[in-house]
Amino acid sequence: MFEKPLGMRDTLPNLYETKEHVRSSLEAEMKCWGYQFIGTPALEYYETVGTASAILDQQLFKLLDQEGNTLVLRPDMTAPIARVAASKLLKDNLPFRLAYSANVFRAQQREGGRPAEFEQVGVECIGDETVSADGEMIALAVASLKEAGLKNFQLSIGHAGFVKELFIQILGTEERARELTKFLYEKNYVGYREHVKSLPLSSIDSQRLLAFLDLRGGVEVIGRTLDLIENEKGKEAILELKELWNIIRDYDIAGHIKFDLTLVSHMSYYTGILFEVYAGNVGFPIGNGGRYDGLLQKFGKSTGATGFAIRLDRLLEAIGELDETVPVNCILFSSERRKEAYELAKAKRLEGKRVVLQDISGVKDIDACTNKYSDVTFLVGKTGKEPVE
């Protein structure tokens, strides 16, 4: 066996077919919503896209070009798209709706079997700071997953701005807020509680920080946030969530939605509403998204943006194998009847059938060949003779 680099995978025909089917359903829905697909290079400068990306530095594949510049294999599509949008597209100050399906690369430190290259299908809505745009992301995520055939899934929605404001209100400085956020990011709630108890806080404030961990569930969660937050920006975040809930109801997708304000997908990347997508039978999120108003600034444009990405490999795991395989016909011919075979193949292909043309003298095992295809036609020997086995 010839080995592949750690975390790299081949896609064999069956999986390729399934993948293509799922990908095109997602893409079709995104196109229906007016999103335009774009492509960007696999390699980007580390200095710009690499550092702007939400992906941790140690997960980046880095290499040098001939001039000695550090390059990265794109670890996500959001940063490259922000680069394109900031430099080329955002001229007329209108919101821009872009989509992509592309392979991204993230080095895996542990367990070589995990994919280091995987495909993401996603959208970015750039230049729209309204909650309507956030709602559109959630609604489009739901619609495209349904279109792809996924039945059982849930989106959990949080708000990075709310967490930040609540922590700053109680702890006073951004640095202390960061320190506490880190426990959430690391999913260490035991550490979070111990840290809160170790801080010199009034019992009300300390209680608020502990109660924060329970802000999970249905829409009633938004009501409960009101007891915790006092500052203006925090209240704005709650208004956004309320508005978002109305939008979700108008899209008629409330059945897929839960709220979880403890959701922290990244230390600093997201700035507002954010969400993760879960399917019951897969142990990892199959997609995530949110508002990242700071990113465009890094490319010299100060405007808001929001988006989401679906991980195709995990979505495939959630959907399972496709039942139907597309039938492939085979025409086995000998040189005497070659032209006849070509014409038959052409006619069948025009009908949209998949046809393999195979010179019979190139087949060593006829049985293996007839087993492989759903339908085999023999055009062998002189015209008019019976097919030869």
Binding site: Q154, K187, V190, R216, K258, E276, Y278, G280, G283, F284
Partner: protein, 207 residues
């Protein structure tokens, strides 16, 4: 009742204390639960499925979502750094991670050797101390290493200190206290949130 909840339990030392705790929290576990040799135990009246696994594997099962919940030692969580939520300190199976070695010895100046089951924890600890060490990963009988000259020190969990004493070793430094934690898969935590909150609340009452 809602869907089945799968709980990964560590075999051995922690198992008994963990099942006692679940019983105290009001869950009816059958009496044969404790000495069963089965690896999968269904407790239908509670709608639980228990998976009995090696303690170090609990976090792996939970990370991959084949178990919704798990009970795992903090030592395992520190070593494995799995992507799971650490929800509760169950305060059972208390012990600590420590550096030990033969009494009255100094660490080799050049490249002291450290034998341990916890290479990541040990490496991080000595790095923070600015010590340059060579880590030797062993899978058991760690106390043997200094006795036969394999290592200068060991990093291991200590509960009563008896094993160390019986092998003529002494503690040099405490790294961190260890107890068992309730961990949960990030997807289960969101999708099965109501049942999981119920368990968390029931357990918090009796810790």
């Amino acid at each position: 009742m809602s869907e089945v909840l799968t709980i990964a339990m560590p075999k051995g030392r922690i198992f008994e204390e963990a099942s006692d705790l679940l019983r105290k929290a009001g869950y009816r576990l059958p009496p044969e639960f404790d000495d069963s040799r089965k690896l999968i135990i269904d407790v239908e009246e509670e709608n639980f499925r228990f998976i009995l696994s090696k303690p170090t594997d609990v976090a792996t099962y939970v990370e991959h979502g084949v178990a919704d919940l798990g009970i795992a030692g903090k030592d395992v969580l520190l070593e494995e750094e799995r992507d799971v939520y650490e929800l509760l300190d169950l305060k059972i199976s208390a012990c600590y991670l420590a550096v030990a070695g033969l009494p009255g010895t100094k660490m080799n100046d050049v490249a002291p050797k450290i034998a341990t089951k916890y290479p990541n924890v040990a490496a991080a600890f000595f790095r923070e101390q600015g010590e340059q060490v060579e880590i030797i990963k062993l899978n058991g009988s760690i106390e043997l290493a200094p006795l036969i000259g394999l290592s200068d020190r060991i990093v291991d969990i200590v509960s009563t200190g008896r094993t160390l004493k019986e092998n003529g070793l002494v503690e040099y430094e405490t790294i961190t206290p260890i107890t068992s934690r309730l961990i949960v898969n990030p997807v289960s935590y969101r999708i099965k949130d109501e049942r999981i909150s119920e368990i968390v609340n029931a357990l918090s009452e009796v810790i």
